[in-house]
Symmetry: D2
């Protein structure tokens, strides 16, 4: 019997909360999901079969991934599933319940954040003993709850006799930073999906609220920049250096000064800046991370193109080499009326739901956008559900927690929505 | 009996090499020196009595100092001496041998560097088992040898019947970075010193070479800068931030552009740059370290004044608070002919000395300069000896090591020089 | 008999076109207007009585103003009116037709641009011989037409028996750059105005079109910045300089990088940059002009405050003095329904009008906004009319010209609107 | 008879002072020189025959040159000589006096500066009526005196019976800015010169002083930079611009920050900065002039290479095109002992000489350096004479004037020096 089988959704969420795994390191999470879904007769696609490995962004160094895999094993992840992943997280689980009906896809993001969880007694996970066991990783965005809902949905459909169609569950790694959506969208598993759902807990909505069609997240892109120069003794031979820090600061000054755009909102910001040389040595290395956003894909591309040009020539100005890596990226989408109607109707029948909003602008970025566009481009319809869950603290905060009663509610709305497709 | 008493100079040097202590953390070193000098009848002045506590620069955080003291205790530093330091390293040891003769001062710097020592077999300390026990500290500049010579000098004078005068040994902490010289120069202990010697091993000179008068080190100053702004969500409210990173990059651009000076050499460089905010958050904190140098004290002051002005207004331009801390500082000096003659004559009688250079420009910075100027301003004379010691690798390199035969040679030249004052 | 009396509106417009006068130099224009309006029995308020002299912005140097006055005299401006202006242009002309009715104000801007007019035969004013006589001044925005309409309106009201009320004509100087609106708004003459009209020809609308309520122009502000440093020989004593050019370039880099604002559109741009020192001399002077805009008054103020802070500290960073002068400024307004209705109704009865738009966003900046807000704040209502006038070239272009048939049409719509107030 | 024939050296100098001609515009000066030298039987080489036309630097626009030629004609320059120049100033005049003796070259620079001359009565040229007739040109460096000495030398040699050798006079245009020396050095006329003299009046030396060997002028280079972008409406479409002003300011910030060099003195400065767009329009054009200097040719090249790289990438960073033109350039030289001896000896016999310095460092830049190096590289010897001439104001000052008694003295020293070669 699998380790999660006997656990309630709340218990599963707490287990995952205690062992959070950040992007591309979700080995334990994936393996435990696989264990139960395997028992339930789902076909499983791991790693390179679940996503396009070459399109992965923001992948941590190999030694960190390897350490994460070992840690997963130590903390109970079954070796047989770990072995199938071949170092790449991400899982697509598929089960055909009926031959006539449609193929339905659901995307569940499973990664945690690199944040240190609060340890004070005001923080319920700490008080009740399920706070993160790892010093710098925390489920501070609710993906532990999403994962729990995903498994709960499989149980619900399974145990209530399935539905006339095929269910595909997309357990996506590395949502944070927008790193896993694009590669998963290119897996091929989406191409025959006719109805597609993504979901998010919380987002400022109280438990009982359902947003049937979140949409229009802000496209963004993240660029990691490495300036590589040459060090020299700053007193004895300043002319021998190729100063990475001068390149960096020229870049930063000019990045913030990329012209505003008359078509709409543009944003740029820089973080994770580091140039560690001692002050007596001309800097040979400097790194930074850029994030650009735009009110549309074109605006994001405008910022990205200008940013890349700026860093390239800021380097060249100082004879400093520049490498840029796309760390993450998201796009945008519009929810489909057909599914909004369907979700709204289904939700209306769930007794614990007390407020339904049809459409709402998603105020942040989301790489489910890639999966949704893939489905829509292949002729399917899609929406992104907001499942209210009262919070004591905002997302990405070290005191983040969710109202766990939202888990069953989320399963109920999704299951009802899917089951209502039956009648087609 | 003290722990070092029975050890040869080479053995002492190796013991110190194994337990290196960086600036303001030299608790074990100081305590072991105190133990033997106490036995030898020296009057001891610790911490606040050995230096002007308020003039200390680049002092590490209190918790680091406290941890260093505890580590010293664990590694054999006698508690009674540790207690007398009251958390401040530095030791002046004084012994009156004769009432008629002059007061002679010798400055010995005792601190190590924050460098990780090489562990390969090509590195003699590693091969012979006396490499640093601490992961990020190393005697990579030879101060372990200096300390050993200082103790050797006390032994030599003592055991050969003293001389007609008073000997003052200045065991100076925190020479690296130029942090301990200024406070020790203000201790008052130098004011009656008539003859003053400082010394350095190596510096590119082979064993057997003596430089009787190193002089004209380049004055420098180090400035730690902290920009404190306010974070905000870079996408949702960029205007709410006060961007420390924009202040930092404006500062860097303009610091390197401080005008050249027609009076001579000026230098500026920046290192240890960090601004850790995520790329999605406007930076609320950025730090850097500046080093300025000048061919003269005035030129150094020119650079320092301009640098402080630049960072102050770079911050204000972005409504960002700026704090600057003087991390370290050095000045310059000219060696006195009288002592150069004396050292050159004395060295000529030491059989292991095979080459003597009278004067040479000191190609780096040195905060012994403060002690030397204090002596000279009080009417004394001073010089700075170079004691050749063949090296396999340059100073501040992780493979640095010294030819230990230079230790006895150094003691011999110093003892002969001091003894020759007897005849005055 | 006055010089304009016998001229048609087209002839007047062409006369003004030939002798264009830029902001605060409109001596001839004002004097000729005064001459005819004086004959028609209007009370005239000149210069300091027409506007708040202390609130004037972007005033040219005294010698230029004096030269402009002399030129006006040479080109036929009657001395008696010139004398009344006391060096300050701007005219309020008031006539009471009936005691019971309302006070109606009309704002007409009279200044030209500092643009060189095209001289080729494709340019009608050149071909027909009424192109600008002055080498660097041109009526390229249609204010010659506005002025002609203003006088035409006085004629129309006068000659058709007046109306039951008081007419106040505000001939505003220095609209270009937003320099004259604010001072005129503070003259006191607006405080009893119950109905207020401003107007503009062209703006991309064909002849025959009327916009009854242009509104929401973008608030902007212009800042002239002078950096004053100290020169020195760049080879022999670079350190003696206080480099105005370094201050300027630090300012520019950081001005464009003022953070975007989440409340809406912000803009910044810089022009008229000059630093004339030879390349062998450290710059002691640099000037530039900044323009900021915002989607609201608050956003404009945000940009202005940040810009002022930036230039101030960019100067201080280089020990360079900074002076800032507000060159011009505009605000924004919403047109009143009551007047939109009235204009739309009146225009519908004018046979040459063939299209009426009720409300439209004004895509540029306008300092009539100050006058309009003053009227509205005093309890009156106001609107800003667009009077279509087909153009062969855009505003501010050296080939700009207007379809002169729009002049009579404009008078007709305004006169009908005012007359319709009669019936109140 | 030529126009200058009957004039004394002082009268000639005053005539030239009154009609000063800046670099590449010295038409009248050249023509009048040619007239007298032609009469005296010198072979004349004009323009393209006097210098390598393709190596000219900093040449003004064609219309300015054409206007200068016309002005020269109006002010008495004989047409026949003007015609021979074909628009290019510069004159080599050669006369063979004896067949056996050596070829002797003398370089005389003839251009004026673009400075407005003082007009107050304290300024002797103004008081006596020979101040510049042209509003923005002035002989403020003494080249009028040099030219007068050159002609005086021809007279002296001629009238005292020649010498046993060949005399070549190099009347060089465009010395200011370092624009004419290089092209003249490549003319071929220098290749057989065995003894070469250049000279300068004043330079802080009192009348009566002779410097026999000025040397080691500082190499410099001047770079004119044009940034060409694309304008756009700063409010409506800031993104459509390619902002030349952003490129310019990024360049300036980074140019001043080119690293100092440990080999010696480096300098950089920027002037003549202009970007004329109105503040409401994104800048499409910006220009500046850079000057770099170095304590050696290598150091000058280091600065030049870095400066070119910086402006190139500052442009590219903003998608702005960059054009760079070498405006002027100088090199350096060492005077030859043989000629220093010869001049010192000859000067000692001139009664009006009262102080002789053998060697002195030339504290500025000089493009005679190119001619001198050419002679030396071809096997000849060369020196650069300082001819003391008391000044009331420094060179390049609007009150500059020279003690005219130095003119005859200069001729005497030069003639004696050349004549002393006779005896070889």
């Amino acid at each position: 019997m699998g380790q999660l089988d006997s656990l309630s959704l709340t218990e599963i969420r707490r287990d995952l909360h205690r062992y959070p795994e950040s992007g591309w390191k979700e080995f334990r999470t994936t393996a435990l999901l696989a264990e139960e879904l395997d028992e339930r007769g789902f076909d499983l696609f791991f790693g390179g079969e679940a996503l396009d490995e070459t399109a992965r962004l923001g992948v941590p160094p190999a030694d960190e991934i390897s350490a994460a895999r070992k840690r997963a094993r130590r903390n109970g992840a079954p070796a047989c599933y770990l072995d199938q992943m071949d170092g790449i997280t991400g899982l697509v689980a598929e089960k055909r319940y009926g031959s006539a009906g449609p193929t339905v896809g659901v995307r569940i993001d499973i990664d945690a954040l690199e944040i240190r969880e609060a340890s004070d007694d005001d923080h319920r996970p700490a008080r009740l003993g399920f706070a993160s066991e790892y010093s710098n990783t925390m489920h501070a965005c609710g993906h532990d709850g999403h994962t729990s809902i995903g498994l709960g949905l499989a149980r619900a459909i399974d145990e209530e006799g399935g539905f006339d169609g095929t269910l595909k569950l997309f357990f996506q790694p590395a949502e944070e930073g927008g790193r896993g959506g694009k590669p998963m969208s290119r897996s091929g598993h989406l191409d025959d999906v006719e109805y597609f759902f993504a979901l998010h807990l919380g987002l400022g909505n109280e438990t009982g609220t359902i947003i049937a069609g979140y949409e229009h997240p802000q496209p963004n892109a993240k660029l990691d920049v490495t300036f590589s120069g040459e060090s020299s003794h700053a007193g004895k031979a300043p002319e021998d250096g190729r100063n990475a820090l001068q390149a960096l600061s020229a870049a930063i000054q000019n990045l913030y000064a990329i012209p505003r755009h008359s078509d709409g909102v543009t944003r740029i910001n820089i973080g994770h800046v580091e140039s560690p040389n001692p002050q007596s040595v001309v800097s040979d290395a400097a790194t930074m991370r850029i994030e650009v956003r735009g009110g549309s894909i074109d605006l994001k591309e405008y910022m990205l193109e200008r940013a890349e040009r700026t860093v390239r020539h800021a380097g060249a100005m100082h004879s400093v080499d520049v490498e840029t890596d796309r760390y993450g990226e998201t796009t945008t989408f519009t929810a489909d009326d057909e599914l909004i109607d369907l979700v709204a109707t289904a939700a209306a029948d769930v007794p614990t739901v007390d407020r339904i909003t049809r459409r709402q602008t998603f105020a942040a970025s989301e790489d489910a956008s890639y999966l949704i566009r893939r489905v829509q481009n292949s002729g399917g319809v899609a929406t992104y559900l907001g499942i209210g869950a009262s919070n004591v603290a905002g997302h990405h905060n070290s005191h983040f927690d969710i109202d766990e009663t939202a888990l069953e509610l989320g399963v109920a709305v999704l299951a009802a929505s899917i089951r209502s497709l039956d009648g087609d």
